[in-house]
Amino acid sequence: MTIFYRLLGFLRPYRRGVIASATLAGFAMVMTVLLPALTGSAVEAIHLGAEHAKHHQTGLKAEDRHKLLVLAIAIVVAVLARWVLTYFRRMIAGRVSLGIEYDLRERLYTHLQRLELGFFDRQQTGQLMSRATVDLQAVRFFLGYGLVFIMQSLLTITLAGIAMLVTNPGLALVSLAPVPFVVLISYRYGRRARPAIQETQQRIAELTADAEENISGVRVVKSFAREPRQLERFSGSVSRVFDQAMVATRLEARYNPMIGFLPQLGLAAVLLIGGEAVLHSNLKLGEFTAFYLYLNMLVGPMRSLGVTLNLAQRATASGARIFQLLDRSPRLTEVPDAPELPAGSGHVQLVDVTLRYDNDREFAATADGTAAPNGATAGRPVLSNVSLDVPAGRTIALVGATGSGKTSLVSLISRLYDISGGQVLLDGADVRKLNLRSLRQAIAVVSDDPFLFSASVAENIAYGRPDATRDEVELAARRAQAHEFIERLPKGYDTGVGERGLSLSGGQRQRLAIARALLANPRVLILDDATSSVDASTEQSIKFALAEAMEGRTTFVIAHRLSTIALADEIAVLDHGTVIAHGSHHELLESSELYREIVEKGLPESVFMTKDTREREVSSL
């Protein structure tokens, strides 16, 4: 329930809009409820008029005609008033609902931007995405529309109920008897149908995956002549979808017609009991008609009340998940008024550094769909007691097996993670006490499979310095050996790349990342060397670009091959989170057995010839 109130809190900035639209809706409902009464009175006037006409009471008949005219005008006035009221109600409520949606989304996104990197390492992106899309959708739908629906339905039922009770309490109670059942059954139907439909969608997703596999893997299927078995498997998936769709269909067939039937009982009661009452002059024909019309009018609100109660329930569950995210405070924060990074040329010191990652999966959903409680547990150290002093302008290579802590080590310089012991200093300043922005702008990373954003080539290069001029961007691209291929792209520097853009080859992406780093003009450069290979000529131009980038900067190289190690002045060998050897290539060949082994086993004999990554993606036989 507290979650529900917190959700309502999102309405607070729109208090006036909410009140205005509720008031407008209220008046509009009054108009709506007036209509059956007016129509009923009209029928009464008609009835009397016909009687009077039959008995040639011309005066009374004229009176009835006049009354009818007044009622017709009243109806027109009521619907015109309702038109205006509803128009403004919709406009205001729409604006409010969109405002809430906007705020929610912005809060969520801004909050995600505040959370530390470690948080994202441990979350499945899918989990976060579903909070930001599915859950947000449920909440905004409820706050935006659900509340209005509930209010409208309740108001209609109440007002019509009152009108009926005032006219004839006994008949009102009998004919309204089905109302709670309809609401209840609609609610139940919503609860049961949703999982059935979700399961259907899940199975369709499986079917899609199945189809995708068969199409992407068509070469394998064909080369082993396994079409019949694959067809059988696919047919299985198709049947599963069919079966589940029928589960949903059967639910619909069971509930929907029943929901349609129940109000008919009320109408039948009105016809019979009300009709008898009119026969015995206990009820006017006009009142009888009004009753029938009221009940007819209530069918819609009864149903939608049931449906929207479901929305409320779903929104509460979703709200819980969203708040869990919003309540998770950032664990890596700046100290207030943190000073800028002092001037310097990139002297990096690690003093007795120990690093542990939290290894909890905070947000893994539990089986019943509710969120698991927060809580962090510390894992085993990724780095322990590492000390390293890299003077400004030096290049150091980090060598070691996968998981030895190379990437973690370089991440500490820009304080992507907080250490659990020791100190990391850049130009003499403890990174934890610095303004994060000034620190991170002094460090740039180039990885072998760099992430590019869905933006133009120019914007990607200028990523670290969005204010850079086109000339500066071009200069950086030239220095990174990227200018030539960029010029040949369809729109040159304005070509879109990234996740949803043009796919560039590995080598091209890498050179863009180098240009991006160059333009940022960092004090410290971090290179994460290639594990996937590019062809020889590309490799050559990347080497030129790297040499340009490293010029005059402190550089950390995570090295996988001999040729990259050769770039370094000194080498540190990591093993299970500790630096086990440190020195020049020749010193280490002498002193470190692990290093010798790594070098001898030939950091993988790089690929012999001529296939660049792009072709690999496209035509794998």
């Binding site: 008029g49 016909a50 006409a53 005609r65 027109v76 619907v79 015109l80 309702r82 406009m91 729409g94 604006r95 969109l98 906007y102 989304r105 995600l112 994202f120 369709i204 189809a211 992407s216 893997g217 070469r219 080369s223 082993f224 067809l231 949903a248 269909t249 067939a253 929907n256 017609p257 349609g260 109408l267 016809l271 009709g275 024909l285 008609t289 820009s414 992507l416 702008q441 990373v445 954003f453 869905s454 914007e459 291929f485 040949r488 792209l489 304005d494 879109g496 790349v497 949803r500 796919s503 080859s505 040729s563 950091l603 993988p604 004999e605 690929v607 012999f608 001529t610 072709e615 036989l621």
Partner: protein, 643 residues
């Protein structure tokens, strides 16, 4: 802004080429017939469904008439018995309506879903008959979408629209007939508002179709942007660019709000206005009908029946107007599906194709030339995905490339990917294909596997032209190992057994052992029962390679065609892959697109391809000694590797 640009590239990429095939009027009729044909096997149920619809609609229209009867013949005439009978009839109608809606919901669901299931299987079967060349000329996403998105678009056409069409149509016609029958003049007067409502509804649907598409697009952008930020969070943090992303996100958020506001405005203009018009119609009925009733021309019950039937007039119009959009998208989907089903498989077996018994594995290329052609019946398109603009800076020499606008050149230049290749591979020999990108290595391998037929010359196995051979009997004796080891979701054992249906666990384990995959499988928690995940995502690239080797080995092919992977794996696995490969190649004819020096060195023969021709061939030592093209390549490589 740029992000929009990026997306533009995507739609531009797939749009005009494969999705833009617009439907014409003439094909529409055919498509509709196709749709009906899908339901044809379930005639009885379909007819029952229609009956339920008609009876259900009649029952739906009855209550106003019964209410009229109750007033006119029961209440006004003070006839209590008649009233009771009418109420009984009312209840009976309600029960009939209940039963009919039940039947209709069930039958529509059954027939619709069954038809869709059939269609899915039909598309799938059809796709299976199409040659590899077909797949290479189309983005996989487009084909997948035929069998998923397009079929689902049909779902709403079949299950919603058809029912709405019948139900709303019948209701509308029924209501009109009822009103005309009750009182002609009053009916005609009531109908006055109908054109207004109809025109307004149509306007609303057309306007809102665009507006809703816009909201879907903007919400799509938001989701995509969020997804991207999460994937690139490390870069965002590293460059400390959070404020920039927040500002950009706010832009997307703004766009979405604006797009939604348009729909709010449309709704606010439409729905209240329709309500208002219905109110005006009500007032008209009350006034004119009332005067008529007072004058004794009609009864009070008739006026009530008119009032009650009014909603039966308005609702169907609103529903029918909605159909238009669904109909459009459904027909578009149908069009695309039938276009796919119309593609006739080429490379089919000849009627009297030779069934190959166990082959020796002697492969012969005799004067083989090949050009990728514009896609069409029996043709093939260059597989280099020239839709990808970046391809412009590589391999300029491939034929059949699309120009930048994504259209096909009308008369493609016949650039030969392979030219007059003569090569005899004796049984059991390993041939390593070496050459620069675009030299024709993949094409060579594809012709050997009969993914394509040569433009000139012939490829034979054991002296039989591949075109004369029953492909199933041939393929089962040929192993093809693509560069990216593609695994299917399922267990490791299932993936290995893919090469030999019904293989026993011993056979599976033996194959794994033979290629050296048993060590890492033994280290996995569930061993051979370990799920590999979608596309084998749970395994490393090297492990996938080893499983692909085991899969090929268990099939025991006579001829193996292998595209060696270029991605580096860790030291340990590297060694295993070399061993595994050696075992796999032993004793078979093998054509290997080779990248590793170790593989090349071990090959019985190295064939160096250049611009679609064989530049030179021989063993490693022979070629080094010859100091030709291979020598150059080798020297270049050696320089870089050591540098």
């Amino acid at each position: 802004m740029s992000a929009h640009g990026g997306r533009g590239v995507v739609t531009g990429r797939f749009g005009p080429q494969w999705d833009g095939e617009r439907s014409s009027r003439s094909t529409r009729g055919r498509n509709l017939r196709g749709l009906i044909a899908l339901v044809a096997p379930y005639k009885v149920r379909a007819v029952a469904m229609l009956v339920a619809l008609v009876v259900g609609t009649a029952a739906y229209l009855a209550p106003p008439l019964l209410a009229k009867a109750a007033i006119d013949t029961g209440i006004e005439k003070h006839d209590s018995t008649a009233l009771v009978l009418i109420v009984i009839a009312f209840l009976a109608v309600a029960v009939i309506y209940w039963i009919m809606t039940y039947l209709q919901t069930y039958l529509v669901g059954w027939v619709g879903q069954r038809a869709l299931a059939d269609l899915r299987i039909r598309i799938f079967k059809h796709l299976q008959t199409l040659p590899i060349g077909f797949y290479e000329s189309r983005p996989a996403g487009v084909l997948i979408s035929r069998i998923t998105n397009d079929v689902e678009a049909l779902d709403s056409l079949v299950t919603d629209s058809v029912v709405t069409l019948f139900q709303a149509g019948l209701t509308l016609v029924g209501a009109v007939v009822v009103l005309l029958f009750l009182d002609l003049k009053l009916a005609l007067l009531t109908f006055c508002v109908v054109p207004l409502v109809a025109a307004g509804s149509l306007w609303f649907r057309l306007a809102s179709a665009g507006a809703f598409r816009r909201t879907r697009e903007t919400i799509g952008s938001i989701t995509a942007y969020l997804q991207e930020t999460l994937s690139g969070i490390r870069v965002v943090r590293s460059f400390s660019q959070e404020p920039v992303h927040e500002a950009k996100f706010a832009e997307f958020n703004d766009d979405n709000r604006d797009a939604n506001m348009v729909t709010v405005r449309l709704n606010a203009n439409y729905f209240p206005a329709v309500e208002m018009l219905s109110g005006v119609a009500l007032a008209t009925i009350v006034l004119y009908g009332g005067y008529q009733a007072i004058d004794g021309n009609i009864t009070a019950g008739t006026v009530v029946a008119f009032v009650l039937t009014l909603s039966y007039l308005f609702e169907p119009i609103q529903q029918l107007s909605q159909l238009y959009a669904t109909y459009q998208s459904g027909m578009a989907a149908l069009e695309k599906i039938f276009q796919l089903l119309d593609v006739e498989p080429d490379l089919t077996d000849k009627p009297n194709a030779i069934r190959m018994e166990r082959i020796r594995g002697e492969v012969n290329f005799e004067g083989v030339s090949f050009a990728y052609r514009r896609h069409g019946r029996g043709g093939a398109v260059a597989p280099d995905s020239s839709s990808n603009g970046a391809a412009a800076d590589t391999a300029g020499g491939k034929a059949g490339r699309f120009d930048r606008a994504g259209t096909l050149p009308t008369e493609p230049p016949e650039v030969l990917a392979l030219e007059s290749i003569d090569l005899h591979i004796p049984p059991g020999q390993t041939v390593a294909l070496v050459g620069a990108t675009g030299a024709g290595k993949s094409t060579f391998a594809k012709l050997a596997a009969r993914f394509y037929d040569p433009t000139a010359g012939k490829v034979t196995i054991d002296g039989h032209d591949l075109r004369d051979v029953a492909s199933e009997t041939l393929r089962s004796q040929m192993g093809i190992v693509p560069q990216e080891a593609f695994l299917f979701s399922g267990t490791i054992a299932e993936n290995i057994a893919f090469g030999k249906p019904g293989a026993s666990q011993q056979e599976i384990e033996a194959a794994a052992k033979a290629v050296g995959a048993d060590t890492f499988i033994g280290e996995l928690e569930q061993n051979y029962a370990t799920e590999v995940g979608e596309r084998g995502a749970q395994l490393s690239a090297g492990q996938r390679q080893l499983i692909a080797f085991a899969r090929a080995l268990i099939a025991d092919p006579r001829v193996l065609i292998l595209d060696e992977a270029t991605s580096n794996v860790d030291l340990h696995t590297e060694g295993r892959i070399e061993d595994g490969l050696r075992r796999l190649l032993a004793g078979r004819t093998a054509i290997v697109i080779a990248h590793r020096l170790s593989t090349i060195r071990q090959a019985g023969r190295i064939v160096v391809l250049e611009h679609g021709r064989i530049a030179e061939q021989g063993t490693h030592d022979e070629l080094i000694a010859a100091e030709g093209r291979y020598y150059d390549l080798y020297r270049d490589w050696a320089l870089h590797a050591v540098a």
